[in-house]
């Protein structure tokens, strides 16, 4: 029922006019907010690249601090976090109570201790405070947040790419080939939109299980309908245009007309839709991971961090919640602003 008021009017063709993309870049450059957002997103992408290649946060699973070590700027509460006792015993068991009289193993402790002393532990002693604090196992929250950024953005981007690819292919086919093929695709579209989004995601999640690839698959397979709607409308409009008929006249094949001639003319619509989907899917991944339907346990995303943070908050451990929230909010705000700027730059008519 959405009225498609989305119309593209290409700039009047002159002999030396800049291309669509060059003109868009020119407009984007003049949008200060947009350039600022682009800078933030680029910085995040650099961070993600560094994290993916293991330059930073590769050791996020290491227990670098004491459990729930507070952030460095908030100062450590002496004695507090260290006595939490939540830390699982590793290696030589800790002696809590002196039960040497009844302990049958007591005579051997000296021997074991001397043998243990020979093993040099290369791990530095756990820190009392970390830049952004530590979680329940003493893992560095900053490293977790960086790794979580990588996973969340990765899922969002690839799910958006998948959804846009499905939507574009089906939309192009349905818009270009009307008739039975188009009707069939319209039917599939109607079926997918008839089911409320949450239930569709749940149904797919119930069947496909968990995992990072699965989340991308679920979001991509359920989220393509919006792009489809837009792309189909664009193809219907363009298929009747003179330049497509001219292409046909010079003998361009159907495939060539769809992808070589029409596609570049609507690619800006797809790009804007893609960035809208990235934001939507990042939010969706966070919720799915929080519910345990998303990334697996051995990975970290903003969603799993928020999931842990829910229980921590009650005991006053606010830093993991703050870190995940700030990272996510900054990225998503910047990306949304960039999307708005991109839309304005690519489609001046919409202003």
């Amino acid at each position: 029922m959405t009225a498609l008021t989305h119309r593209l009017v290409p700039p009047p063709p002159t002999d030396r006019s800049a291309g669509v993309w060059a003109a868009a870049w020119e407009r984007l450059r003049r949008d200060r907010l947009g350039i600022g957002a682009l800078g933030v997103v680029a910085a995040f992408l650099l961070l993600i690249f560094a994290s993916a290649t293991g330059l930073v946060a590769g050791d996020w699973q290491l227990e670098r601090g004491v459990p729930y070590a507070p952030p460095a700027f908030a100062g450590g509460q002496p004695g507090g976090p260290a006595e939490d006792g939540m830390r699982p015993a590793r290696g030589v068991a800790r002696q809590a109570v002196d039960i040497a009289d009844v302990d049958p193993l007591a005579p051997r402790y000296a021997e074991w201790n001397s043998r243990a002393a020979k093993i040099v532990e290369s791990r530095p002693p756990p820190a009392q405070a970390l830049p952004l604090g530590a979680d329940r196992w003493g893992r560095d929250v900053l490293a977790k947040a960086i790794k979580g950024t990588q996973i969340s953005v990765f899922v969002g981007v690839f799910a958006a790419l998948l959804a846009t690819a499905i939507g574009t292919l089906l939309g192009a086919a349905a818009g270009y080939f009307r008739g039975h093929a188009g009707d069939l695709i319209e039917w599939v579209y109607n079926v997918f939109t008839a089911i409320p989004g949450i239930l569709l995601v749940f149904s797919f999640a119930a069947v496909f299980g968990r995992g990072i690839g699965t989340v991308i698959l679920i979001l991509g397979l359920t989220g393509w309908t919006g792009s489809y709607r837009l792309v189909r409308a664009e193809y219907i409009k363009h298929a009747a245009r003179d330049y497509v008929r001219a292409a046909r006249a010079i003998g361009a094949s159907q495939v060539s007309r769809i992808f070589v001639h029409i596609f570049p003319n609507i690619s800006h619509v797809i790009l804007v839709q893609l960035s809208l989907l990235v934001v939507a899917f990042i939010k969706a991944e966070v919720i799915l991971s929080f519910l345990g339907l998303g990334v697996p346990i051995e990975m970290v995303s903003w969603g799993t961090m928020l999931g842990e943070a829910q229980n921590e908050l009650i005991t006053g451990k606010w830093w993991q919640l703050a870190a995940a929230t700030i990272f996510m909010t900054v990225f998503v705000t910047a990306f949304s602003l960039l999307t708005d700027a991109l839309r304005d730059a690519l489609d001046p008519k919409l202003r």
């Binding site: 029922m1 008839a194 089911i195 239930l199 149904s203 119930a206 519910l291 345990g292 969603g303 949304s336």
Partner: protein, 312 residues
Amino acid sequence: MTSYLLRRLWQMIPTLAGVILLVFVLFRFFGGDPAEVLAGQIADAQQIAAIRAQLGLDQPWWIQLGLFVQQIVSFDFGQSWMTREPVSQIVATRLPATLTVMIPILVLEVLLALPLAMFVAYRRGTLTDRLVVAVCVFAMSISFLVYIIVGQYVFGFLLGWFPVQGWSDHWTTNLVRYAPLPVMLAVFVSLAPQTRLYRSFLLDETGQDYVRTARAKGLAEPAIMFRHVLRNAMIPILTNVAVQLPSIFVGSFLIEVFFSIPGLGREVFLAVNRSDYPVIQAATVYLALLTMVINLGADLLYKLVDPRVTLG
């Protein structure tokens, strides 16, 4: 009108068939073996065979599809695999809780977002307008989860204004005691996107010629806003409300999960976690049907709101 209605109802059949087919294919060919889910870990081959026979899983797939259609048409999805509760009863008993939370949310959302959007649209281009839009973009970037976690902590745990979670058997107690916090948080979260959306609907109208005409003849701005712009913007606004309507039956499952509200959304979520296929299938098929009916109702409503609309 009647012919339009009949044609629309007729067009629903292939879509509904598609929904049934999609759900069937998804769970039959991609889901795990129901017999193994049902029998648990200590099942022997005989038990599994018995369950397969009982569910009709030993039949060829087209007979299973027939059984599935039969279940849908007769409103009898059998029992939940885990709790042995009849699925129809699950839907019937969980729905009131969902509605107790979702109806206030929907009503408050429109009642708050619309005036706010009108105010912002009225002050368009000014600092207030840009500030509100900027705040909306920022507020929308924070995950829904954060609002709920922090809201529950601050208002429920720290300040103690509301119970952190809970639900009773009586709907007035629920509405007065347990619903306010989830409703408040949900409305607060949806206020930013809704305001932004309604603002754009209203601004689409304020650019129209009739607004210029109204100004030219000296009509006061509030009169233009209420008498002309608002009435014309009703169509996209109604569409938006209609789009949201089906979701009040699923509920905001997140709200229900967080506040332990025994509603339909939480039930479906729990069913996903325990691979309780009948519950998910029933919810999906019936809510899809409901969505189609509501969309049809919304289309009919346009005609009432705007006489220019012709149903074709």
